[in-house]
């Protein structure tokens, strides 16, 4: 359809909001990142230098890397395993709902749920946290899951993320899995392939692009992870992450220059995935 300038009427509200809430602020944040705490003195790259050298930031980077590896591996891995296994049971729908349900609730609620699972009491008191009750029941000492640094508490936080996001991965991978022509797997089985070989040589190659999409989605999420850490430890005991640092620089220390620099670093880490998204979209468009 061609009708002069009418299209701008349809686009105007969207463009206005996108401009006001995404485009302009992003540009402004880049500018602010070169200014001091109050945004009035130009300090060059000083904020960035500090971001890459200060101890709290280095811990945040380390933790984000840990999230990146462990979280992504487990959400995508378990999503894949569940998608394959659930295809073989008749009560698939019920189990899927159970695994997928955490996706619907907030991280704030998930935070409360898991703080309770991790609740810690001295060995003499009855354990009210599920996890420590199991540990004590097996004859161990209660563990301060959210306090014991550096690995136990960070992994404990990552588990919450895995609990929330595995269902998402499962749903997407499962949809792709059901798209595999049955004949392909059957043919491999008739040729004498065992289940593992079918999985390795038929299923995985077929799911490759889906796995790539799911993995990049998880990575983009992980880089921005905020609510879970904010709710469970607020970064205490070396569990801080980049997004939480940004929030604290902004509100706790009112250092707007530093907070902006951290936001820009976060953004730069995500840019490759932005490029990927746009590329994938162009390929999609080309075949449309």
């Amino acid at each position: 359809m061609n009708m002069g300038r009418a299209h701008w009427l349809y686009l105007a509200p969207a463009l206005l909001l996108l401009g006001v809430f995404l485009v302009y602020p992003s540009a402004e944040t880049i500018r602010l990142s070169f200014y001091g705490p109050r945004s009035d003195t130009f300090v060059g790259v000083q904020n960035y230098v500090r971001a890459f050298t200060s101890r709290p930031m280095l811990i945040a980077f380390r933790n984000n890397l840990l999230w990146l590896g462990v979280f992504t591996l487990f959400t995508v891995g378990m999503g894949l395993v569940l998608a394959v296994l659930l295809d073989r049971v008749r009560y698939e729908a019920v189990i899927k709902s159970v695994i997928f349900l955490p996706m619907a609730i907030s991280y704030v609620a998930a935070g409360v749920i898991w703080r309770f699972v991790y609740a810690f009491r001295p060995a003499v008191a009855p354990q009210i946290g599920l996890l420590n009750a199991i540990v004590v029941g097996l004859g161990g000492q209660p563990v301060g899951w959210l306090i014991q640094r550096p690995w136990v508490n960070n992994i404990a936080l990552i588990v919450v993320g895995v609990w929330v996001w595995t269902g998402f991965c499962m749903v997407i991978i499962s949809a792709a899995y059901k798209g595999i022509p049955r004949e392909m797997q059957e043919a491999a089985r008739i040729d004498g392939a065992n289940e593992w070989q079918v999985f390795r040589h038929v299923t995985i190659p077929f799911l490759k692009s889906t796995l790539a999409v799911v993995t990049t989605t998880m990575i983009v999420f992980v880089l921005k992870v905020f609510d879970i850490v904010y709710m469970m430890t607020n970064g205490a005991y070396d569990t801080d992450v980049i997004a939480n640092r940004m929030y604290n620089e902004m509100f706790q220390f009112s250092n707007y220059g530093m907070a902006s620099a951290i936001a820009v670093i976060l953004f730069l880490a995500i840019v490759p995935f932005l490029v990927l998204n746009v590329r994938r979209f162009r390929v999609q468009e080309a075949v449309r």
Binding site: A14, P25, S26, T29, V108, V220, M231, F281
Partner: protein, 284 residues
């Protein structure tokens, strides 16, 4: 033969059921605990209340009464609706108009505009917080519902436009041609043809945006943080964790109050939610 198959499948059943149990246990603990009196909660694990029938009579709704009336969760419940429902309507209306133009109107720069929208999907919110907060303070929008409606709409638009445009774009061209031959205006075609045909995808998008806004903490924290009277459930609950972190009888009940609406939406409209996720897997 049948028994052999069952035996072969046994490990699969065991793994699947075990995983489901692990996934369910934390929420189950929350639910059970929210109905236990304070002293019980502190003296024994929630599972003992489930497996000891003599304790069943001790279950109470007092925690819920307390969080809804004393702890401000009742007001927050209303606030969550006042934030979420208008936001969803605004976002969807604006996104649908834009998606229609991007799918069916020809103009220069359309592709560039489209790429920009796709790119904006993954922009981290953190990139926008400080300038928007300053803008809000200057225009006295901090702590107001219209302020947060607009902010959420802005943040939600890229994904919503993407979802809707993909669907609109797949509608058959003849549909529009015959409508225009019959003398329909583009707007009439939009309202009478496109929207009715897109109900499933509109539902997916609405559920997506609804859950995202209902469950949001960061945006509420930054733009409504200092204003308790407009705080949504997530914000109120996070304050409660800060002030009453060991009062599990209150925290569990409050958490459940914040979960009830998303869970109802999820359980009744799961089909559309899944569809939205499958179509929008691009979002981070």
């Amino acid at each position: 033969m049948k028994r052999k198959l069952l035996l072969k499948r046994l490990p699969v059943h065991l793994i699947v059921i075990a995983l489901a149990a692990v996934w369910l246990a934390p929420s189950l603990g929350l639910l059970v605990s929210s109905f236990r009196p304070r002293q019980d909660l502190l003296s024994s694990g929630w599972w003992t209340a489930v497996i000891t029938p003599s304790q069943w009579s001790r279950f109470t709704t007092a925690n819920y009464r307390d969080v809804l009336t004393q702890q401000g969760m009742g007001r927050a419940f209303l606030n969550s609706f006042l934030i979420t429902v208008p936001t969803t309507l605004i976002t969807l209306t604006i996104a649908a108009l834009a998606a229609y133009a991007l799918a069916w109107m020809e103009f220069r720069g359309r592709q560039v505009l489209l790429m920009t929208v796709i790119g904006l999907i993954v922009i981290p919110l953190q990139m926008t917080l400080i300038p928007v907060l300053r803008m809000f303070n200057a225009f006295r929008l901090s702590g107001t519902f219209p302020g947060i409606w607009l902010a959420h709409a802005g943040y939600g638009l890229p994904l919503m436009i993407y979802l809707l445009r993909n669907f609109f774009g797949a509608l058959p061209r003849e549909l529009f041609e015959s409508a225009f031959i019959d003398g329909a205006t583009p707007f009439r075609a939009f309202v009478k043809l496109v929207l009715p045909l897109s109900v499933p995808v509109l539902a997916s998008a609405a559920i997506f945006q609804f859950l995202w806004v209902w469950n949001d903490l960061l945006v509420a924290l930054v733009y409504l943080g200092g204003f308790e009277e407009v705080a949504p459930l997530t914000l109120r609950l996070s304050l409660l964790v800060g002030s009453r972190g060991q009062d599990w009888h209150l925290l569990t009940a409050a958490a459940f109050v914040s979960m009830i609406v998303p869970m109802i939406v999820f359980l009744s409209l799961q089909r559309y939610f899944v569809r939205g996720i499958l179509a929008g897997a691009i979002k981070g």
